[in-house]
Symmetry: C2
Subunit: 432 residues, 2 copies
């Protein structure tokens, strides 16, 4: 890999790196196909979903969209005890972190005038849908990252949709992970069909109030379309890691973490910005060395070529500015004083501090959520958390005296905004 100087990166490289491969396809073909799926599901309901099955697996006579409870029980037999054990530790840690996020369900009231009180109460979103990718990529960890906050928030109806594998069934490990956190409403439907079903509802699959979860360009495009009638978590795209390092950093660790991100797919983005030319050089050598031992090397090479960057910054300040501008999904800070650096970071989904916080630690086991904003969306979106599964409701109460104390303001503004009925609706409360 080339090593660039941060303030003289060629424009073409800079643009490619900054833009990365956003999950949302502006490809009109993708948009048209997804819109057709939506129309199909809206019109033909379950038949549209089963039609997809027929195309892939032949007859759908014995097909049920909903996973049955014997199927879930049976799945446990197919999952190794060590995996169950790992899922248990993950669940414990994610629950711990998520519980701490929901501090109160009723805000203290603010008395803005004597007799005028305003407060907020928190309500869980009633019906939610989680989309869990399947097929080639298999992410039971994402079941936990989406599902645990939903359960803790208190969502009444939690639906999981996941595509069947080549054998026509959802993978056992996905079923087990779901069941372990108490979610048993699982439907074997994938891609834009699943998103359309959750958007409109069918006889089998309920219409939900919010759709969560990542997927390919078709799924992300479908989620944007779903926004016309429901709501979504965020437009999630390919994985990204950005590492800020000084000369105290370990190049083998840096290389390993860049490669871990790159193996998600050839559209992943891996960036190292370091103040140390030595670290930069050593990292390049380490990358080559480590790639030799990885079965996922070819897609990593591709992602490094397309969206990778190794750059030398004149100062930590420059590196931090660039990181804030890039707004990465994952940010690792391997410097002498990583906490001081983190205080200056404004835009990042999940931050990993110090040499021993490997990216994969947060992907699985620290308890932090791994569903994060990508494509510079970290400038405005937070990581997934319990907040996303509920909403505040605003409440206000005036006594007659209270209303009287703001009456003049209401009436003046109503006239200024040319809304006489607004004025009258307050004034009438004082007509004897």
């Amino acid at each position: 890999m080339n090593i660039y100087s941060l303030n003289s990166i060629p424009n073409t490289v800079y643009d490619r790196v900054m833009k990365r491969s956003f999950g949302l396809s502006s490809n009109q073909g993708v948009q048209k196909r997804v819109r057709r799926v939506f129309e199909d599901v809206q019109t033909n309901q379950d038949r549209a979903l089963l039609g997809e099955y027929e195309k892939r697996f032949g007859s759908t006579n014995k097909m049920s969209l909903r996973v049955t409870s014997p199927e879930i029980k049976n799945a446990y037999k197919q999952v190794d005890a060590s995996v169950i054990c790992a899922l248990q530790q993950m669940i414990k840690n994610i629950r711990n972190v998520t519980n701490a996020q929901l501090k109160t369900k009723t805000d203290p009231a603010v008395v803005t005038e004597k007799g005028v009180k305003v407060w907020r109460e928190w309500r869980a979103i009633e019906k939610i849908g989680l989309y869990i990718p399947g097929g080639k990529a298999l992410y039971p960890s994402s079941v936990l990252m989406c599902g645990i906050p939903a359960v803790i928030a208190g969502c009444k109806e939690i639906i999981i949709c996941s595509p069947p594998s080549d054998k026509g069934k959802i993978s056992a490990i996905i079923l087990v992970a779901s069941d372990m956190i108490g979610i048993s409403n699982i439907f074997s439907v994938g891609g834009p069909y699943a998103i359309a079903a959750l958007t409109y509802g069918t006889k089998s699959i309920p219409k939900v109030d919010k759709i969560f979860g990542a997927g390919n360009a078709f799924v992300t495009t479908a989620k944007m379309l779903a926004l016309e009638t429901t709501s979504i978590d965020m437009p999630a795209g390919p994985s990204e890691v950005f590492i800020i390092a000084d000369d105290s950093a370990n190049s083998s660790y840096i290389a390993a973490d860049l490669l871990a991100d790159g193996e998600h797919g050839d559209d992943s983005a891996c960036v190292l910005v370091t103040t140390s030319p030595v670290v930069a050089k050593k990292t390049v050598i380490e990358i080559e060395k480590q790639l030799n031992n990885l079965s996922t090397a070819s897609r990593i090479r591709e992602s490094l070529k397309k969206y990778g960057l190794i750059a030398i910054a004149d100062s930590l300040k420059d590196a931090i500015n660039f990181a804030n501008n890039y707004a990465p999904e994952h940010l690792e800070i391997m410097t002498k004083n990583p906490v001081a650096v983190s205080k200056k970071i404004n835009n990042a989904g999940s931050v990993f501090i110090g040499n021993y916080t490997s990216k994969s630690s947060g992907d699985y086991a620290t308890g932090a959520n791994h569903i994060l904003p990508t494509g510079a969306m970290a400038k405005s979106y937070p990581p997934l958390g319990v907040d996303a599964f509920g909403k505040w409701m605003q409440i206000q109460r005036c006594t007659k005296l209270g209303l009287n104390s703001i009456r003049k303001t209401i009436e003046t503004m109503a006239i200024a905004e040319q809304l006489p009925a607004h004025k009258y609706s307050t004034a009438i409360r004082f007509i004897k």
Copy 2:
């Protein structure tokens, strides 16, 4: 108006009432025109914006998109002292309520394993754009509702875009309201042009990280398009009020509040569900009586005809269920024990408790925010608040010992998910 029984509303009426007029246009014509505006602004930048001016106002020789500081100073001379006074009380109350929403900028750390710490830090969104409608409707109150939380959150760059009136200038009251809360970055651009400029940035108008504010179908469609590259507050649509009343309610107040909502436009939605046939009948009579005195009567009549409903419920429970299903923007509760009813409400933007909390009190002066989810979006979106102007950043730190305590879980899951580099990126930290 007809009075229906809640459990036997004709299907056509029910559908019309439940769907109401959502702000987002699925009209392909609107979508195409908005997309063309986006392409125009992306390609021609400021020239595209000025071109719109030329069409409306002739020569743009003297035209500047940015409002100058003498213009802002001069605006104060055109605004009545009583309005300044009203704005001051509004600002005080909105600030009070908004300040209380931002409780902490650093969550306490959760120690999930010995040596594994996870916490969150809050960061303001750096650059935001507020769209303030202009022209016929003039809402200086919306400047405060959007602008105050942005200032309190600490957003570094706050841009206001608002269309010029027929005289080619933004209304003085909008400029004054903005200046009073410390926002002076104001641009005279309206409609989808403004949203496109905030999305892509032009020479005059900076690209922002998130776009806030309501508008007509073109603006809302533009905001949905903006979502492909930036983020937005929510897809806001026409105003809605839903009143739950029992026989303790005052029909004149109910009628006045229904009419106040209806006067926002002929696409507004006004619903009364009461357990009292007497209240229903009296309200119908009151509506007719009050309409006679209102200059906005014709659009109110239109909105009542299209999206209005008066229905009698067998029980408060039925009324509450219907309200939760409808998920109104504004919900008024005029019953003997309104607080008990409010506890059972899950889906509503802003709740008004008791006979003296007029809808217009919350539109202007209680301190509550009046930018609220519409079109049943209250099922998943909260009212606008300080939270929308910032985001949590997730941070984690492992010691070597800490990483060791989750190492097995990471490695097991990495293998289960077929991601060998993920396994290696943790394992390498233990290779001597």
